[in-house]
């Protein structure tokens, strides 16, 4: 057994480079200081700080939406909606607190809201079958990630996406999902157990088919 599945994998973390036209780069975002300083400047009404935040956080939030089996168009819509909400409630970020989970908590709220709306819309129209037949989901990101995360529950997918794909810490994930660190650890442990089983079965199948061929 290697490291605890809940521990952050440093190789999954990347500093985020902001566009060339921006006056700032955004390296080492996870140290948190840059992000938090930018948030304070954003609260003070600094548009350049807002621009840097938008350029640096949007790809991460977009990826977060995509990890939930969403089309690129839907993810872009939710991203815009998330930024509008972030803008509206930017005063609720408290200087000194980690900013990354704050962004994800709001993104998560928007995603859950979107999910509820879509469920209601489908239930109202009662055309679930037709939709699934006539409007196949737009291909997005790698199909492989979808296949890999398929056996996991919604909450497990969300936590794995934050922890392993976005490289957040357990504490950050716990804050973003309004749960305790213990509960996040438990979900990660269960998710890894499921993933191990699924990947194990898949590998065995591949090996057998290879052997037969």
């Amino acid at each position: 057994m290697g490291e605890h599945p809940g521990e952050r994998g440093p190789y999954l973390r990347k500093g985020v480079e902001v566009g060339k036209d921006s006056s700032e780069t955004f390296q080492g975002m996870h140290s948190g200081e840059n992000l938090e300083r930018l948030m304070i400047r954003y609260q003070e009404g600094d548009f350049s700080a807002a621009t840097v935040l938008i350029r640096s956080m949007s790809p991460r939030l977009h990826r977060f939406f995509l990890a939930k089996s969403m089309s690129r168009a839907d993810a872009s819509d939710l991203l815009q909606e998330t930024w509008l909400r972030i803008h509206k409630v930017r005063h609720t970020y408290r200087p000194g607190e980690p900013a990354l989970p704050w962004f994800y908590a709001i993104a998560r709220h928007i995603r859950v809201d979107h999910y509820r709306k879509s469920i209601r819309a489908v239930a109202g129209e009662k055309v679930l079958e037709e939709i699934s037949k006539s409007a196949p989901s737009t291909p997005h990101q790698t199909v492989e990630l979808d296949a890999l995360l398929e056996p996991l529950s919604e909450s497990q997918r969300e936590i794995i996406a934050m922890l392993k794909i976005e490289g957040m810490s357990l504490e950050e994930v716990a804050r973003a999902t309004s749960s305790s660190v213990g509960s996040v650890k438990q979900k990660v442990h269960r998710a890894y157990k499921k993933l191990r089983e699924t990947i194990g079965i898949r590998d065995t199948k591949k090996w057998r088919s290879g052997e037969l061929a």
Binding site: M1, G9, L12, S58, P59, I106, R120, A147, S180, I199
Partner: protein, 234 residues
Amino acid sequence: MKNEHIDELLMKAAGEGQDVDPGVLERIGDSIKPSLRPVRPLPPGWLMAAGVVVVCAAVSLAGAARAGFSGLAKMNVLERSLIFPALGLLACLVAVSFVRQMIPASRVRVSPGGVLGLTSIALFAVFALLFRDYRTSHFISAGIICLLTGLLHAVPAGLLSWLVLRRGFAVDPVSAGMVGGTLAGLAGVGLLELHCPNFQATHILVWHIAVVPVSAAIGASFGWIARYRASSRG
């Protein structure tokens, strides 16, 4: 299979080439620019928690001042020195939890259901320890009056607490409503302890404590309605 292997697979599967359309980023920037003004961050959490505790205490005291302090007058020193500090302590803990529900990405140590459960159990323990009169005269009729009186005071306490925290943003309105309702319920219980002279154990254990879960359920319902309306608008 090792966890590192799964991590590698996840990273590989997440892949590259998921850049956001630059046009989208531009649109986001353009949409927030006109309304970009300096904003005042929320005050410290302890200050907001203190605010809601004061509001709840004020509602309880105001209610008792109108209805009478018959319960307080009938209590002995031990009962007074255990019940009111316990209520105060619980109100502080629940207020902190309520404030955290109103600030995105706050550290959550106990779930909203846990807050309600622990509050009810703590009240049950204190009341069971102090009250030993197990008669049940007028159990239903007196009980319903107390429940309604407690709830009638919990509602303004909840609304005023929400007013104190209105600048916050609840990412989960149902949970926030449940914790807010629990706090408001404590205000109702506070009033009943000050006012109600019925010291029958079953009356207090059932009807006084019932104010807390009923108020929490009302709070959660308000949260659900708020969430439904917000998502219907979108």
